[in-house]
Symmetry: C2
Subunit: 133 residues, 2 copies
């Protein structure tokens, strides 16, 4: 296992279309899969979670994405932690709505930006492999 640099981690995150947002709901840990884009070093999600996540807006959430192959047991995982805030500027809302097509039916009008305060990424590499970093 090797740690990814922040740049590597954000690059990996941007290379996949979805991940999982982690937040508190009624003082309990909650997690929901959503699709995302990475833009300007931040993660943008569009959610139908409504009240559940919006209560968390302005508070700290985590966001995780991974690509781990169950057979080879190789892959990577990236976790960012940061404040979730609604995207409200009209131009940005329009642009992100174009970029983020909802995967499920239903109104998905809330765009949330998670700006990382912490970035943690790791890569699962073969134990015998020599990793040159």
């Amino acid at each position: 296992m090797r740690e990814l640099t922040n740049d590597e981690a954000l690059h990996r995150l941007g290379s996949v279309p979805f991940g999982r947002v982690v937040f508190s709901q009624n003082a309990m840990p909650a997690i929901r899969p959503v699709n995302h884009v990475v833009d300007g070093g931040a993660v943008i999600i569009r959610t139908h979670l409504g009240a559940a996540l919006l209560r968390s807006v302005g508070v700290v959430v985590a966001y995780e994405a991974d690509a781990i192959d169950a057979d080879s047991r190789l892959g990577w995982s990236v976790i960012i932690t940061g404040y979730a805030r609604r995207v409200q500027e009209a131009g940005e809302v329009h642009r992100y709505e174009e970029m983020l097509q909802p995967w499920v039916d239903g109104a998905m009008n809330q765009l949330i930006r998670i700006r990382p305060r912490m970035i943690n990424g790791f890569e699962l590499v073969e134990a015998r492999e020599v990793v040159v970093t």
Copy 2:
């Protein structure tokens, strides 16, 4: 999108080798990918997280696994929420250590059982598909 029954959800969870445990760490949401087995209706994980997760043992955690195809945008996600407790009975420890081989190097001596109090699962189906439940 259709909801899975509890039985369907646990069956899906048991069909994949890894997921993500969600807990609070220093009052912030935290998430780590780990591998798991489903046994007796509970999720068993073996973790190298040490102090990070062990502080959560006896408190509520969430556990999520999914299999979503990025191209077809079809698949499923299951989330259980429940108390995390260490598995300490010697026979169980031995059995689960056989079942759960660590994917990364390092001591992974903590076996944790998460017994679901809530089970939430959904399946992403094609919008035009008629689902007979």
